[in-house]
Symmetry: C2
DNA sequence: AGCATCTACTATAGGCTATCGTAGTTGGCG
DNA sequence: CGCCAACTACGATAGCCTATAGTAGATGCT
């Protein structure tokens, strides 16, 4: 997944994808499409606003380059498939983000996360601890 | 801190700032400057490579816009000051990033973090656990 | 064969970063 | 007192990326 950047001031998907990219993945995931063509996406987006076929096509192509969609020739057109579910994508994003965090300083990052979790929900700390125990056990043998 | 975006494929500071921006903040922080002018930065950067005064100036200006440097007129020039230390910046970034993860659900975020820490350094898990215990104690009493 | 439809390629506009040219100001020196 | 060198801000340009659309080629139905 190359060329992804984050805009923390944006919400949800839009933090990781540009607006039109996000709109498109939103459609694909919410419709549960396993495979689709550009025209399918365009038809769907057009219900909300005017948008040219070619605009959608270019952006779908970018999503392909970014590794979110795979594609395959089907005669004259391409058929696209989502490479991952929305949850998988979120998770991949989170991994990337946490990766950058550790570059900034692991311990500090961890401390922040612990703080944040504790502040929002003290109960979660228990689950957190349990998870670490489990992981330690796994690693230990 | 507006207009900051992340490039997870980059290392450290460069994940949060563009290359020249990062170079400049690196200089400012590593020199421990409390206040400085564009010329100071340029002189320093020029030890490594050729770079025009104006290039530095423009980028310092952007760092001001992004909220990393405050500035004040001093006759014909500006005097700049870092708004935060490197650690404070890291922390602010981390907070922003973790904020974008809120879409995830804390539990999932935690699981990912634990995995990641365990993968990169099993020993850290111990510190991690200790941190949680401490936090629990704080909350409990 | 002819027209409407579908699609990919390519081009353009706008935004952002990195880079520098230029022109205006200031301070020191003859 | 005037001139030159140094310093500085502003503005311009090139390059990259996103969003958007125009156009031309292929296909299929009549």
């Amino acid at each position: 997944m190359k060329g992804i950047r984050f805009r923390p001031e944006q919400e949800g998907l839009r933090a990781a994808l540009f607006d039109l990219e996000a709109d498109i993945m939103e459609v694909v995931w919410s419709k549960g499409w396993k495979e689709f063509a550009v025209a399918d996406v365009q038809r769907e987006l057009e219900r909300k606003r005017d948008i040219a076929y070619t605009t959608v096509m270019t952006t779908v192509g970018r999503l392909h380059e970014k590794g979110l969609l795979s594609r395959e020739r089907d005669g004259k057109r391409y058929v696209y498939r989502p490479c991952m579910s929305r949850d998988e994508f979120t998770e991949a994003m989170a991994r990337d983000l946490l990766g950058s965090l550790s570059g900034l300083g692991h311990e500090q990052a961890i401390a922040l996360l612990v703080d944040q979790v504790a502040d929002s929900d003290a109960e979660e700390l228990g689950k957190f601890e349990a998870l670490i125990r489990k992981k330690k056990k796994e690693l230990g043998g």
